[in-house]
Symmetry: C2
Subunit: 462 residues, 2 copies
């Protein structure tokens, strides 16, 4: 188990405690997850906030910060002698806890009483996203299941989001390692994808690269010749000449920081003329957005800037028409760019998504829009130095959506529906890289990866 | 989604129904499983009994066989228009259901009422192993959580076990495909493992091979230079000359049938003299057990036969002593062979482990022993034609266990504790292949994979 220094975890917890005058902070670690029977497990993934404050990458732990008694306790069980025989000698939990600056460990059976004794006091917990952790909260805190989300502590959520949003230098180094593995995963696909292959063969290569670096993919990879399908976890298509291949995937490092990169490449050696035209437009929007990244700017405005660049290009191609500022304001471009420009990234690929977009990506004075397109923008608020985020504009030609809009005359003043027929089978293009917000701009995380049509074609022709 | 013919699923359900005179059979499919936030999913794994009877490899389905009304219904929701945009056009649930011989589908919201209306009748369900499915049963059937396991239907468990235990020809073909991918995974390691590598680099290769064949690993691979640690999911060791590498892993095919193979190879080009001696002994036990496989023989007796062969060899090496039949009867050999000789295999790598070992591996008249060693034998009962199982003897030198037994004088009449010192760092050896029980013996599933020391060394020296 790779850990930061004891002081790192202590400092994180000390900063967290400053937001509270009393009560208990309760952090539930994750359990093993069963696939097709109880003991057939998925790879273990610890909860990210637990990792952030307590570092210990083991199943079955719960941490309590008791602000009134000023103690920090890890609840969990040492291996029994029999378990030791099957699992091998492991460091003791109490020794591991010391490595993250915690001197008190207790058996898990004690937690019920500990929390019951704390019942007069406020118990702060984060919203659970795994059913077994919901069950524990129901059981320990005597809250009914449906009330759990509302009983999660807004105060704790906000304090955790404030800390985890600003990445430290050692976190940035870890994220960069994850991004570099992600770069290697993409290079593998760029070098090896060939007409006739199945998408799942590439999935194999990509997974191998993440695992062989000591981690895992940071999310289920998207590797598809149907790039217009935004959430595509089907890998059964055959790569055919003339199509493009969209790969959106990344690695999680051995310390569980994420990388997340997208590239769209021609299945053959070259983009077609129209593919290149659309690609160049996405590329231009990508570059424009990156140039606008800096502290103090709302990511919402950068998203809208990218939308405007895309819409202007679509107008030049004859697919959109009318006043482009109006079109973007109305959301007409979302026929082609249905999602958001990017999201926070860190210990989670969508960082802190479990804690709620309203806290991570928005503020009390900047609520998320419910306009189609904007409602999928995960991050809208002002950028700060230390934020890490993705920039991932795209253009997606979704036949079902085009038909639906045309049939309902949606935004007909801005869309040239007559010109769309040629694009029904075009697919989709996305370009995504990961950035750190610096004092006066941004810096690309990880090694640069080929992204212009020229760079990609030159790589595909080796 | 790959399916068998409609008739296959209908026939399986018809056979199942014959065991019941009335009531409802309720089969819960699996949901997506979240890793570090709700929408970051592990690869979807359908419940195996659901796959067996209903074939549909999609999350969020429930099947009801209403024996009184003689109807079969799949409960589940069609994609909404918005989901269609994000996930792409998919076959309709009602059309998929027809492919497995079911004409009635209903929205999931209807299931609560359907089950409530059936409340006067008996509702049979299998024991859940995922917390979200436990929750559904609590909610729909108004049973308290702790009572759920006891309320699972023994009648249904027995009927399902009876059917799933006997593999059809088309299942055997699928299992063979999974085993062949497993063979390829092992060949990869045998050809590529080199001193200086990290175990997780090999994990990457092995995973890639399973994924690139359109499936997944059938369980978390064991790839370790510490083969004596039986449940080892740590991959951080470096391969060093002189050690052995134990690989226990297999593929799940795209239809979710499993393969499961173990080999132990030298990290260098050759086994040492003592490694070869121990290996040859495990190999001999393996061959002896395989020769004993046939219908009508209890797998418990084949396990004991293998134990005896191992114990005789250990006596010849000077590690055991005394009357070997007595030693095995007392369980003294379990110092070196702590686990079982094998298990059923099919849609699960430990087939039907969720349904209970007492039904899958034992009978009312043959209960599992609680002797150390025997209590880890998953399969004891009489073999039948059509069973598919693993044969996996091994010898494991576990320092903690040797110390514990020696300190307590356990089986001191049968163990030469004085001779064990040389084996403290030996590690462990296991050899495992997969077999079908035929009319008068057994047949190896999949292509033969190198397993003798000679074969392995010749492969390692290419």
């Amino acid at each position: 188990m790779k850990l930061f220094s004891k002081e790192t975890y202590q400092e994180r917890r000390n900063k967290l405690k400053k937001s509270f005058s009393g009560g208990l902070l309760l952090f539930l670690g994750n359990e093993e997850s069963s696939s097709n029977f109880k003991d057939n497990w998925y790879p273990f993934r610890q909860d990210s906030s637990f990792l952030y404050f307590f570092g210990l990458n083991l199943p079955g732990l719960v941490a309590v910060v008791d602000l009134d008694l000023d103690v920090e306790i890890i609840f969990g069980d040492e291996l029994t002698t029999e378990e030791l025989i099957w699992h091998g000698e492991k460091p003791k939990l109490r020794d591991l806890a010391v490595q993250v600056g915690i001197s008190q460990t207790r058996p898990m059976k004690d937690i019920g009483n500990y929390l019951k004794n704390g019942k007069q006091r406020e118990i702060h917990f984060l919203p659970p996203y795994r059913p077994e952790n919901t069950q524990k909260l129901i059981h320990w805190l005597n809250i009914s299941g449906p009330r759990i989300p509302a009983e999660a502590s807004e105060e704790l959520i906000k304090a955790v989001v404030a800390l985890r949003s600003i990445k430290s230098d050692e976190e940035i180094a870890e994220i960069s390692r994850a991004v570099n593995t992600s770069v290697n995963m993409h290079r593998k696909v760029m070098m090896q994808a060939k007409p006739g292959m199945k998408e799942y063969e590439l999935l194999g290569m990509v997974t191998a690269e993440a695992v062989a670096a000591g981690g895992n993919p940071s999310f289920l990879p998207i590797i598809t010749v149907d790039g217009q399908i935004l959430h595509n976890h089907n890998y059964s298509n055959t790569l055919t000449e003339g199509k493009m291949l969209l790969g959106d995937f990344g690695a999680e490092s051995d310390m569980h920081y994420a990388g997340d990169i997208t590239r769209t490449i021609p299945v053959g050696k070259k983009f077609s003329v129209v593919q290149k035209e659309v690609y160049d437009l996405v590329y231009f929007a990508h570059v424009s957005a990156i140039q606008a990244l800096k502290p103090g700017v709302r990511f919402l405005d950068i998203h809208l800037l990218a939308c405007k660049k895309l819409a202007e290009g679509l107008r030049d191609m004859g697919l959109m028409k009318g006043d482009i500022d109006d079109a973007v304001h109305q959301g007409a471009h979302a026929l082609f760019f249905q999602c958001g420009l990017g999201h926070m990234m860190g210990l989670d690929v969508h960082d802190m998504e479990d804690l709620g977009e309203e806290y991570v990506g928005y503020t009390p004075s900047l609520k998320k829009s419910d306009q189609f397109g904007l409602k999928s923008l995960r991050l809208g608020k002002e950028l700060e130095q230390g934020h890490v985020l993705t920039v991932e504009p795209g253009l997606y030609f979704i036949p079902q959506l085009m038909d639906q809009w045309e049939a309902n005359n949606v935004h007909k003043d801005y869309i040239n529906y007559g010109k769309l027929a040629n694009f029904r089978n075009f697919g989709g293009i996305r370009i995504e890289d990961d950035f750190l917000i610096t004092r006066d701009g941004s810096s690309l995380l990880g090694d640069p990866l080929e992204s212009s049509t020229q760079e990609l074609e030159s790589l595909r022709n080796r």
